[in-house]
């Protein structure tokens, strides 16, 4: 069931409010009320978000304490973050290489034309596509 679990973690983190809550919990445990404070939404809505995070395994809540503070399961979160970061890092490396290629194209354009007012589409490109 690892695939399903993983999808659940991704789905849980796809929502900006929940990502925000996770970021807050990374600093320290917090109650539902504390988590709800910055948002203009009902406590029910916040509870629902926390339930999604709980079901994904990202957040746990102690059963004994009366205030039942939310606790971030840092290990699960770190693993997910690491995966996304690796993916992001490779994309970033690729796009830095693309930056270099584009910079060269810019240099080439500057050498062949001093007038950049007509910097519209390169006709050879649109021509190639037709």
């Amino acid at each position: 069931m690892s695939d399903t679990s993983l999808s659940r973690v991704f789905a849980a983190l796809a929502d900006p409010t929940r990502r925000d809550m996770v970021a807050r919990l990374a600093v320290g445990d917090a109650t539902v009320g504390q988590l709800a404070a910055p948002y203009a939404v009902s406590m029910q809505a916040v509870s629902k978000h926390i339930k999604v995070l709980e079901e994904a395994g990202l957040v746990s809540r102690s059963r004994d304490a009366q205030r039942r503070p939310c606790h971030l399961e840092a290990e699960v979160f770190d693993l997910m973050t690491k995966w996304i970061e690796r993916y992001q890092q490779r994309a970033q490396e690729r796009y830095r290489r693309l930056d270099a290629v584009l910079a060269e194209m810019n240099d080439g354009a500057a050498h062949t034309s001093n007038d950049n007012d007509t910097s519209g589409l390169d006709p050879t490109i649109t021509g190639a596509a037709s």
């Binding site: 690892s2 999808s7 796809a14 490779r90 830095r96 519209g120």
Partner: protein
């Protein structure tokens, strides 16, 4: 000087659909970005992965055309192929398959948004055929091994399913 924040790549995974979204700004016109994606010599120079050479074996960058390239370094070769579904000045739609896993195919939609002042925003969307496929795709960046990673996550999440 560090790369400005606007040139960082942002990645998000859709909650409902097996899609990965990526956004990245470039100091270039949409036409230049388009050319860097459709000119085989330019494309081979940046597509990567890092430390590998790209050999274009077939390249027909037209609507309905197709492509195939091999990325390699000594002793290692990885083939990729796909079809150019649609090529427009502001948009490229193509399929992407890793030859080692021919059952998997991603549908990629690239759009070039002109932000003015010589900056163009690339929106890249990859649609794969299942949530599991998407997550494996995302996890594939982990050098220590995807299986290991899944096993570890499985162990961490073991209590939740009960």
């Amino acid at each position: 000087m560090n790369t400005p924040a606007k040139h960082d790549v942002t990645i998000s995974a859709d909650a409902e659909l097996p899609i990965i979204h990526m956004t990245r700004d470039f100091d270039a016109t949409p036409a230049q970005l388009h050319k860097a994606h459709t000119d085989p010599e330019l494309f081979a120079r940046w597509v990567g992965p890092e430390g590998m050479d790209t050999r274009i074996e077939h390249w027909d960058a037209r609507t309905g055309g197709s492509w195939r390239y091999v990325a390699g370094r000594e002793g290692e070769e990885y083939g990729f192929y796909g079809a150019f579904h649609e090529i427009r000045p502001d948009r490229i739609v193509q399929t992407f398959t890793f030859a080692g896993e021919p059952d998997g195919v991603a549908l990629e939609t690239l759009t070039f948004e002109d932000l003015g002042n010589g900056v163009t925003r690339l929106h890249a969307q990859s649609l794969v055929d299942s949530m599991e496929g998407r997550d494996q795709w995302l996890a594939s960046g982990m050098e220590t091994g995807v299986e290991e990673g899944y096993a570890k996550l499985d162990a961490l999440l073991g209590d939740i399913d009960g």
